[in-house]
Amino acid sequence: MTQRLATTFAILMALLAALFLLAPLLVIVATSFSPTPVFDLPSGGLSTRWYERITRLDGFWPALYLTLEVALISTAAALLLGTLAAIGIQRGKLPGADLVAALLVSPLMLPGLVIGIALLQFFRGAGLTAAHPALLLAHLIITLPFVARTMLAGLSRFDFTLIDAARCLGCNFPQAVVKVMVPALAPSFFTAGFFAFLASFDNYPISIFLTDARTKTLPIKMLQYIEEAPDPTLAALSSLILGATLLLLLLGDRLVGLNRMAGTGD
């Protein structure tokens, strides 16, 4: 009886939490169809004019292109570096491996604002004043923790003797890695890439210190748009991003399974 009550309560909390999390997203999608130029829920009809306005936002395309470029390159680099490091940590039986693992994940838990300021001062001191390379380097630090976290967990469940088995069956070492290890780790790669990409795509507190007048990422442009004219254009843009993420997640569910992406291992 008590057990059933507790189970019902837990399920109810999960449903309420989902509703609570989706509430602002529903507001954003609803606002994007508002007929009036105020950031509020639509009243008196629906309109799609804010979607048409997105592309006419000042500097929208360069900002989107820059954000995607930085996110894709830094995520790809982080996937490579993070996976190699995770293999070294899981297999090397190295002294201080725990410390290295904690270090790899720590940029996620330390204040982005302080990292941004520290990088700004550091790049200035090193004579690096161009915004573009500075953003790429900084976003490697943003994406690396997400990759390290997921790959460390994924590799802890990978049976490395499978590689030896493949070699016994006639593969050389690179073949064994490509044919056995990469497919087995594919779900972890997808999960790590998804979270790393979103973290870079969304980043505000670090990027703000490293952009200049001509090189601005989308989140920074978005705050500028809000300050200039807080109309529903931003809601329309966010709804499109939401739609793209939903498609990516549905693909992830097919390829990996959402439950596995949540880090449960099955």
Partner: protein
Amino acid sequence: MLSREQRPWAALLLPALVPLCGLFLLPLALLLPVSLTSAQGFSLAAYGKLFGDSYYLGIIGNSLKFAALTTFFALLIGYPAAFGLTYIKGKLRSALLLSLFLPLSIGVIVKSFAWTVLLRSTGVVNKTLMALHIIDEPVRLIFTQTALIVGAVNIFLPFMILSVYAVVAQIDKRLSEAAATLGAPPLLCFLRVTLPLSLPGIVAGTALVFSLSVSAYVVPTLLMGERYQTLPTLIAKSFLLTREPAFGAAAGAVLLAIALAVVILSSKLGKPRG
């Protein structure tokens, strides 16, 4: 020194460790001398100002209180919700997991704006409460501590639920059944079996949400406005507005120390026992 077998594995760490040291540890370490410098050279003045003034001590207090409350409510909702997820199967579970992942794609700025729509005096929350006759006239919600905590919990809750869920989903349900069979009442069963097994999830989620919220900059700025200061807003102000890099760096060092303490404490507490 490393043995011959260990060296190739250690070499795998290098490509990640080089940028991590050069672009993360070193720049952060270099912030410390900035905080210890004044026009006359070495000086502890920035720290003296930060810890000697009750106004600035209040700001440190604000940050800790905000992070503690956000973490507390995120755990209060997230812990049972994570268990709820383990009881749900199929399409509904997929939908609930989607609701955890989807909010991560929307920036804090736009989400905070959505909360101002919900919480304003003519907003959905006030209208619902009035329709249910819980209140007679609109309550001021926006720019209050309540709005700040609601918004912050909303933004950081997915991290709490995912951290706890990753651990509790792997708990063998037969263990608590065994305890029940052996005569343990449900509460004792929870306290002696389920709670200790879920502890690594609680520690990971608490540490993550606390460190994220103590560092939050956009949420307090948009939901509370300029007059409410926390360490991150003070740091941004010192660097961007008042041009006091030494003071900003000192506040940054304090914030960094808080976050580091959380990281170290959680890695000590989160280790499996035995």
